[in-house]
């Protein structure tokens, strides 16, 4: 039986971040195109705007959290002398 290789955590974080950003951009573009079709409908505009803000908030939270954790890890590794 072969060994199971585990991806390094940083690689998983990188993949997650890139996929989140790309998916968000596609969804945002779709929402903006949809907005131009329902410009006169106030309720639809409110729903679309809230959805857009939610998407931006979720992706931004993911990116901020991963950035903060990465910086904490780098600082710890530098303190322990593993990297300079």
């Amino acid at each position: 039986m072969g060994t199971v290789g585990l991806e390094p955590a940083s690689q998983i974080v990188a993949d997650l971040s890139i996929r989140a950003v790309l998916a968000a951009l596609v969804l945002i573009i779709f929402l903006i195109i949809f907005t131009s079709a329902v410009r006169k409908n106030q309720s639809a505009k409110v729903i679309i705007f809230i959805t857009l803000v939610s998407i931006v908030a979720v992706v931004s939270t993911i990116l901020c959290t991963t950035a903060y954790l990465h910086l904490q890890d780098t600082a710890m590794l530098m303190q322990q002398g593993y990297i300079q």
Binding site: V13, I32, V53, V56, V59, L63, L69, L71
Partner: protein, 232 residues
Amino acid sequence: MSTTNLQLLAFLSGLLISLNPTTLSAFTGLLLGSIGKGHKKSEQSLVAISFLVVLFCLYSLVGLVALNLLNLLEAQTISNVAIFLAIIGIIWGILLIKEYYWYGHHRYLSFRLAHRLHNRTTKKSDPASAMLASMTTAYITVPSVGIPLIIIATICTVLPDPSQATRMIAFFVLALLLPLIAIYIASLSGLKLSAIVRWKEDSKGSFRLVMGLSTIILAWILLLLLNGVIEL
């Protein structure tokens, strides 16, 4: 990410953020005032160039001051400040996107100043007034232009070569002024400025949308740099 890609990023983001209704209004108002007073082409050129040069100097100064202030901090502090600036950029981007859906449905912080600017650009059209109008425009556009400019300066702090940072800021500021330069050249060739004003009025919501999305994407690029996904 190579140096060329970074400079392209700075230039493209500057171009997207350059479609700012405030700067377009101020500049076209100034030119219309100059034409209305019967100025010759050389006088109009002096007014336009005074406005553009002062705006270029002020935006570049903001970028370079932000860059130098950030470089004074320790590496760990820069990273924390960068995360904070990215969050500010994202919040501001969302506020700009709101304008696409409901334009002008809030109190402008500098409404009185904008009103005074409008009066000034339509009544007086000499180079000194153009420079003053430019300074006022730079002040009013501090959030819309200043926040992306500071994010670009923060991205520059992680560059290995400091001279690239100055070039990136220069590319960004130049791209900010390109539409104004294009409008000026087109007006010399016979383009009616009233058409530009009408286009600006019809599209100002879309301009704010593009500015908002560009600011958010810049903030995301900064965060991707910080979490090691994009490497320099």
